[in-house]
Symmetry: D2
Subunit: 123 residues, 4 copies
């Protein structure tokens, strides 16, 4: 079966680059929010996030950063916290044919909301 | 702050309808896969999925079905199973200005994969 | 196979009542933290939590409450928030033969931590 | 506040070793099931699981193995799969004063169920 032809011929490469990146962004948030994390485990978790999301269709690269200041604020008496959306600063790069999208999540203080948006798109 | 102007002026309404629906589809999968489910709890879980995803930006409607046949196959000796991707048949409807997208996840036997795709899009 | 004999004969009924309740409490937190929730979807989500956890071994009853005050504080500009550990007030009742345990999670302000503990146990 | 005195004086050290290990086992399953995983990302994910669970109270050590044979069976046409309960073989070691517990999850073919049980306990 030609998956692209059967299921994706109704959208452009540019639209599909956005589509696949957005799926992975939703996946990121809802899969990993809640994971116990500390200063010492931060790097390994960032790497696991990057590696797992990179497996998904059309993903070229993932850069995950768990924000340190937020981490300290939320640190409980037990010296770790649960990963929450406001700690996430993650960029997902997708590529479908000539179209390339850069999808970002970052916490926007003014909105009190971890916003996902298309930071850059070209085709 | 005009969020739409600041963060979404680089994509069309059609692209944003795809973007927001795809985020919610990724969210669905990675948030709810793993939930214990049985024949008796199926309806309530479908409703909770529909209601929670409907809260996200640009989502007009969500229709969630947990596939019964798959459920029976996976039923353990304890009379329940964990929700897995191959049980999901969910449609998310988004609307951004005049653009409307219908995003679907369903298990494609031939691919052995729960595929997410844009079933319909208009603007 | 006699599962109880093969896998659980090394612990008492009282210990197993604690064991099964604690598993479900860990499940609760890490499955549902991150779910989008609003005032209008709160009831349905509480019910889905109760029904899904009740399916697990030895669980007699589950009472889930998503705390309203916390919910309002965390409400973003989009009129919903993501379920977080500090909103959870959940009691899980387990029974193994004559032993009965009541396991609780509630947010302890002084610890800045959603604590899970055995609120009551008898055998 | 003396947390142990206030919240845990009603159970023995042995019971608490079981309690804390069981919470982390429930956490493991419901946090990480659904993560995209492949042969190449397996090691990093096992490490992230071990490091995150080790942060929780009373956890001494965690040994996580994602079972390779299961992984291959479930591999989709996209060369990766979603982590499911039947791939998990994880042992969590807890210690509370003199009590030490070894909690295990492994898939039991005969039950078609990923069983969590107390593999060893001493005090």
């Amino acid at each position: 079966m030609d998956v692209d032809k059967k299921y994706f011929s109704n959208i452009t490469s540019r639209e599909r680059a956005i589509f696949e990146g957005a799926i992975s962004m939703g996946a990121l948030f809802h899969q990993f929010v809640g994971v116990p994390v500390s200063k010492s485990s931060k790097k390994g978790l960032e790497k696991a996030i990057e590696e797992s999301l990179s497996l998904q269709p059309a993903i070229e690269n993932v850069e995950a950063e768990i924000k340190f200041d937020k981490l300290e604020e939320n640190m409980s008496g037990f010296d770790y916290t649960s990963l929450s959306g406001d700690m996430l600063d993650v960029t997902i790069y997708t590529k479908v044919k000539n179209a390339e999208a850069k999808i970002r999540i970052e916490f926007i203080e003014e909105l009190n909301y971890p916003l996902m948006y298309v930071e850059d798109i070209k085709d």
